[in-house]
């Protein structure tokens, strides 16, 4: 009797998995809040540019997607530990990261922007004018790498985990200037009185890609195909217009 039941349940399992063979289950991770890419609206629902793009991509891939929230520090370890399958959380493509994860083609690129109080009037590219200033960056971002490589020893670099904490310290005058992903600075710093953009935005790196485990080459292929389709058929542009006044497409 027992054997029969096991056999029956095995058969059932095979049948059901066969029926869903075409439909992939994907868990996609976001780190919120990172406006306007991924954040929670007034109702607490997950929304943003990357969330909308992920939803459109899933539809294109005919995948059954689940959205997961994961703090930035645990992003890559969580992916490798199979807590989720894709990262679509503004992860810039860098050689160091590419050692550990597989990136799709880039799906957007935003510049890094310099933001500071109205009283700030130094030229951010002039090292003698910047000497002794305190610059805030988010730890591990391409902006962090840029400031670390170009300005170490000239400025004091303070690294933050979240943009919120960094902006709080800019407001509290602990920082002279922040170098942050442009849209984030626009949402968090420029929305406040007494702050402005203080230098030319700098395009850094290749852009942002979907990160996957290295062995998931087939998923990467499907993701690339879906992204290319969305960029061509106008879906991408429609989503982009909803969140940005400027072009982030690559």
């Amino acid at each position: 009797m027992k054997k029969l039941m096991i056999a029956a349940s095995c058969a059932l399992a095979m049948l059901t998995s066969g029926a869903h063979a075409d439909e992939r289950n994907l868990r996609i991770a976001f780190d919120v809040p990172y406006e306007p890419f991924e954040y929670k609206d007034e109702n607490g629902d997950l929304t943003g540019f990357e969330v909308d793009l992920a939803a459109a991509m899933c539809e294109e891939m005919k995948a059954d997607c689940e959205f997961v929230i994961q703090a930035w520090d645990g992003m890559i370890p969580g992916l490798l530990a199979r807590k989720f399958d894709l990262i679509m959380s503004s992860m810039s493509i860098t050689p160091e990261r590419a050692e550990r994860v597989l990136f799709s083609e880039p799906y957007y690129n935003t510049p890094g922007g310099w933001f500071g109080p109205d009283s700030f009037n130094a030229d951010v590219t002039d090292m003698s004018a910047m000497k002794g200033k305190t610059v805030g960056v988010q730890r591990g971002t391409t902006m962090d790498t840029f400031v670390t490589e170009e300005m170490s020893g000239v400025v004091t670099i303070k690294r933050y985990t979240t943009a919120d904490d960094m902006v709080l310290d800019l407001e509290g005058q602990r920082l002279d200037v922040v170098f942050v992903d442009y849209p984030v600075g626009e949402q968090t710093v420029l929305s406040k009185d007494g702050f402005k953009e203080v230098g030319e935005a700098v395009k850094l790196g290749e852009g942002v890609g979907v990160a996957m485990r290295k062995r998931d080459k087939d998923v990467a292929e499907e993701v690339n195909k879906a992204l290319r389709k969305l960029k061509e058929d106008g879906t991408y542009d429609a989503i982009m217009k909803k969140y940005f006044a400027y072009d982030v497409k690559v």
Binding site: P77, R139, D169, E171
Partner: protein, 241 residues
């Protein structure tokens, strides 16, 4: 100069270069400074506060009770956030001389850690004081010692013996709690590990190494407290050992 084989090994691997080792070292110096200072200041204030806490008059012991209750009743992380970010939000603080102190993250963190460890230490010492055997105090009174002399000669020395083991725990907890200093931009041991981790995306290498650093520091603390206990509690040792 390090031996050749260490230099060769350092040259081969990507993460533990001379530069990152220096970052860890600077972090260790910051951690030791922070923990050492907060423990010394905390202990210095904890002794008089513990004595006040044992006084019968509620107007004297009440405020101390309230202080230890607040700081033992809330997480250290929250205390640090309130002191570091809260102070910067006070209007006009940037124009006062206090800002010189609170601008850098080191002093807000030191203040939070000191207040926290002082609260715990106060309770440890208070517990040791109130468990002084009554006979010792009566004997001291019979000798005509006044309150101050009784405290200095009888109560505090015997309380120190009873408190030292619990206090050594508090010291080790404080060392580990200091890891949260990295959330307010201090590059302590944990801060160095987080920076290196985010640069190389190698969590095991970065964090296991820093865990070993903490274990070395803990080992030193345990060793020091073993020496202190041996000295303070030598009367408890079996005869002849």
């Amino acid at each position: 100069m390090p031996p050749d084989f260490i230099a060769a090994w350092l040259n081969r691997n990507e993460i533990f270069t001379a530069m990152t080792i220096m970052e860890y070292w600077d972090g260790m110096v910051t951690t030791v400074q922070l923990v050492f200072l907060c423990l010394i200041i905390g202990l210095a204030f904890a002794v008089p506060l513990a004595i006040l806490r044992t006084v019968k008059n509620p107007f004297v012991s009440g405020p101390v009770w309230l202080y230890t209750y607040i700081f033992r009743g809330t997480p250290l992380l929250i205390q640090l956030y309130i002191i570091y970010y809260g102070v910067a939000q006070i209007p006009g603080i940037q124009e006062t001389f206090w800002w010189e102190i609170f601008r850098e993250p080191f002093y807000p963190a030191l203040l939070a850690f000191t207040l926290n460890t002082c609260a715990y230490t106060t309770e440890i010492i208070r517990g040791a004081i109130i468990s002084t055997p009554h006979g010792e105090i009566e004997a001291a009174k019979a000798y005509g010692m006044n309150w101050f002399m009784r405290m200095r000669r009888i109560v505090l020395p015997s309380a120190a013996r009873r408190a030292v083991q619990a206090y050594s725990n508090e010291v080790i907890f404080m060392l580990h709690s200091s890891a949260i200093a990295s959330v307010v931009t201090i590059v302590d041991l944990t801060g160095a590990a987080r920076n290196i981790y985010s640069r190389f995306y190698a969590p095991f290498d970065a964090f296991i190494f820093v865990a070993l650093c903490y274990m070395v520091l803990t080992f030193i603390l345990v060793f020091v407290f073993r020496k202190i206990e041996n000295r303070l509690l030598r009367h408890q040792r079996p005869v002849g050992s």
